[in-house]
Structure formats: C-alpha cells, structure tokens
C-alpha cells in the first residue's frame, strides 16, 4: 500500500509535468514570438508579467493564483457559480501551478532563439511572397527549434520540481494531489527516510537528465 503511494506520486508528477509542458509549448511559443518580433506598447510589461513567476517566491505566485482561481477568486468564483466546481485541491491545480511557474523558462528561451534568427532570412521569405505566418512556421520556428526544445525540457524539469505554488493551490492530499516534491516533504516530516531517499534520488536523476538534454540543445542554437 505504501509503495503504491510512492508510485502514485511519481506517476502524478509525470502526468502534471507532461500536461503543463504541453500547455506551455502551445501558449509559450506564440507569446515568445510576439515578444520577439512585434513592437507594441506594453511589450516590456507583458514580458515582465510573464517572467515574474521566475523570480517571485512560489508562495507569492500561489497566493496570486488563489486570488484568481480560488472558490472566491476573481475567476474561480464565476466557475464555481456556474459549475459548482473549483480547481482548488485537485490535480488540475497542480497543473495550473506548474504551468504558471514554468512558463517563463519557455518564453525566455524561445524569445532569445527567435531574436537570434537572422533578419535577412525573414526578409528573404517576405520578398519570396510568403506571409508572416508562413514565414514563422517555415523559417523562424524551424531555425529556433533548438531553443524551443531546450525551453520545453527546462519547463518540464521545472514542472516536475514545482512545490510551493502547488502546495498552496492543490494542497497535500495523499493519493490525490501529492506530487513527488510534496511527498518528499511529507515523508521527511514523518521520518520515513527510506522512501524519501528513493524519491529524492529519482527526482535528482530525472532533473539531471533533463538539464543535460536542455544544455545540449541550447548550446547548439543556430
């Protein structure tokens, strides 16, 4: 039974990190593209807003998320009113927390990669009759591919390790929202060292592997 709870944490963490990484890829690339290539009022403000979770303590990010998505939150209250459902203390909340905390890593890495694509290549595509979207899909993003992979890998690793905001939003419900970092916190608190060792070892190994992959890719950004 207890081994099962360890396995559950591992599976939940992988599930949460995978889904949040997919959402990060889908939303992070367009935002990074806009920040890299569009000149508009409020661009730096948007950049700051997206990057803030990188430097804020995760508890502060978690606090903001509760204010927004909690049962009485700005958005959460509407959802609760209409559906009777709240994201709080579900594994979806863990996805939300991981998403917000890890998104800046994707945006920063991909923005830098897009900005490093030679302007002349973009201009060449335009003079060859290709629209902006076509150029983004066929020239800019393929050339920023390594940055995108590096950003996704970093985001996945960060999502796996997310603790503070997840604890505030999803709580610590064994068998429901107990991700690996939260399980480690509980196990060390109750002195179950052998299981804690196992999870800590796995966490370190997984993060190390992902960091290695991210480094290999980001070094070779064209």
């Amino acid at each position: 039974m207890e081994e099962e709870s360890v396995l559950f944490s591992v599976r939940l963490s992988l599930q949460v990190a995978s889904i949040s990484t997919i959402l990060i890829i889908i939303s992070g690339i367009p935002v990074a593209y806009i920040l890299a290539r569009k000149n508009f009022k409020g661009r730096e403000f948007l950049d700051m807003l997206c990057t803030l979770p990188l430097v804020l303590p995760p508890t502060v990010t978690g606090y903001y998320l509760i204010v927004l998505f909690g049962r009485n939150g700005l958005i959460g209250s509407f959802v609760y009113q209409w559906t009777g459902w709240s994201i709080m203390f579900t594994w979806y909340a863990a996805v939300l927390a991981s998403y917000v905390v890890a998104l800046p890593l994707m945006i920063k890495t991909v923005r830098a990669a897009i900005e490093s694509v030679d302007r002349n290549l973009v201009n060449a595509s335009y003079t060859l009759g290709h629209s902006e979207i076509d150029t983004a899909l066929k020239v800019i993003l393929p050339l920023a591919k390594r940055g995108i992979v590096a950003g996704a890998v970093l985001s996945f690793a960060r999502s796996m390790g997310e603790f503070g905001a997840t604890l505030m939003l999803a709580g610590n419900l064994p068998g429901k929202t107990e991700t690996m970092p939260i399980a480690i916190y509980s196990l060390s608190g109750s002195g179950e060292w052998s299981k804690a060792h196992l999870l800590v070892g796995m966490m370190t190994l997984i993060s190390g592997i992902f960091l290695y992959i991210a480094n290999r890719y980001s070094k070779r950004i064209i």
């Binding site: 030679d118 060449a124 335009y126």
Partner: protein, 246 residues
Amino acid sequence: MSLQVRVEKKVNGFFLDIEWQIQNELAVLFGFSGAGKSMTLQLIAGLAEPDRGVVILDDTVYFDSSSKKSAPPQKRPFGYVFQDLALFPHMTVLQNILYGAVDISGRKRLSKKEKSDRADEMIQRFRLTGLEARYPNEISGGQKQRVALARALIRQPSMLLLDEPFSALDLPLRLEMRKFLKEVRDQFNIPAILVTHDFEEAAAISDKIIIYEHGKIAQIGSPEQIKSAPANRYVAQLVASCCSFQ
C-alpha cells in the same frame, strides 16, 4: 517596362532623398558605404517604408505617401538577392529554390507539378544539377550565388534587385558572376538593379549608373557619359581613381 522611384527617408540623422527612373536595363546604384543604396532597395521592395515618395513599376503603384498606399513586400513583384544571400540554412538547395516557387500575383496556388517543373528548369539553367540535396553550407560561394539568383527568379518577378551579392567573392569568381548576371538578365529580359561600391564593377556591367553621395544623387548616366562629363568633383575623382577609365 520602367521603374520610377522617388523617396525620402530620415533614419538616425541620415537623410535619403533620391529620385530616378530606369527602363528595361541593368542599372547600378553606386556609392560608398552608408550612401543609402541598400536602403533604397529595401524601400523599393517594401522591407522598409519611406517617409514620403512613390514607387511605381510600369503603371502599378506600390508605394505612394500622398494616397497612403503601401503594398507589403509579399505583394511586390521584385526578386531580391541579399548581400549575404540569405539562403535558408535548414533547407537544401532544391528546397531553397522551391520556397520561391510562389505565384507572383499571390492570387493562385501553384500546383506541385508546376513548382517542380519550374525548379527543374532553374536547376538546369543555373547549373546546379547534382547539388539539389546539398545544404547551403556544403556548396561553394559561386554556387550559393546561383542558388540565390535561382530562388529569386523562380517566382518570375518583374524586376531583379541585387544588394552587393558579389562583394564576398574573390576577383576571378566576381568577374565570372558579373558575366553570368548579364546573361541571366538578357535571358529573363527584366530590369535589374545592382548595388555596388566597386566603381569598376559598375562601369563594366551596367547600362546606367546612378551615383549616390550621402543620400543624394550625384549623377545619373551611362558609363560613357559619366566618364566623359562627370557632374562634380566627387564623380570626377571616382572616374579618375578607377583604373579601367584611365
């Protein structure tokens, strides 16, 4: 066929203010670095926007500040060859050329067969047979030039704009490419504008030279006209310093 250009643009204290017209010929924009030649090409192609002026090819207006008309680069029928050639590093020679196989009017999609027929023709005409599967970093400087030209011409543009494409080549290859460019222009029978800061190149290749001096036009004429009657001291010095004119 004629291109009429009158543009003004201010950038960081530099002021470009030029007006000229060319027919179906090979015209050279000559001037030293920073004279505004490359900027002129960008303004013609729609990669930058003039503060004031017009860009008219035949009877079609592509830019007119008075009526606030400005066609995007995709809608302008110019083939553009960049100074660094701007070949896509992640595409093969064939993919680079095929990327340019877009209908010039932008109104219809070319069929796969039409694209590959055009590409085959370009590969043959530009002597690139056997190099189709190579990437730009796997071919020589002269071959890259030919790929860039083929890619610009496969769209069947009404005009060719060349921004110092030969500047990185050593002399023998540069001479060969000049000759090749002349042949290509004659074959396609479209006007071409070549930007260069090499006066000898300008004199050797062009039907008309447009001499730039700090964002203004110093003189426009055939190489012979410029040689026999330089408009001012600046042009006279240029003529005198060019060995082939002495």
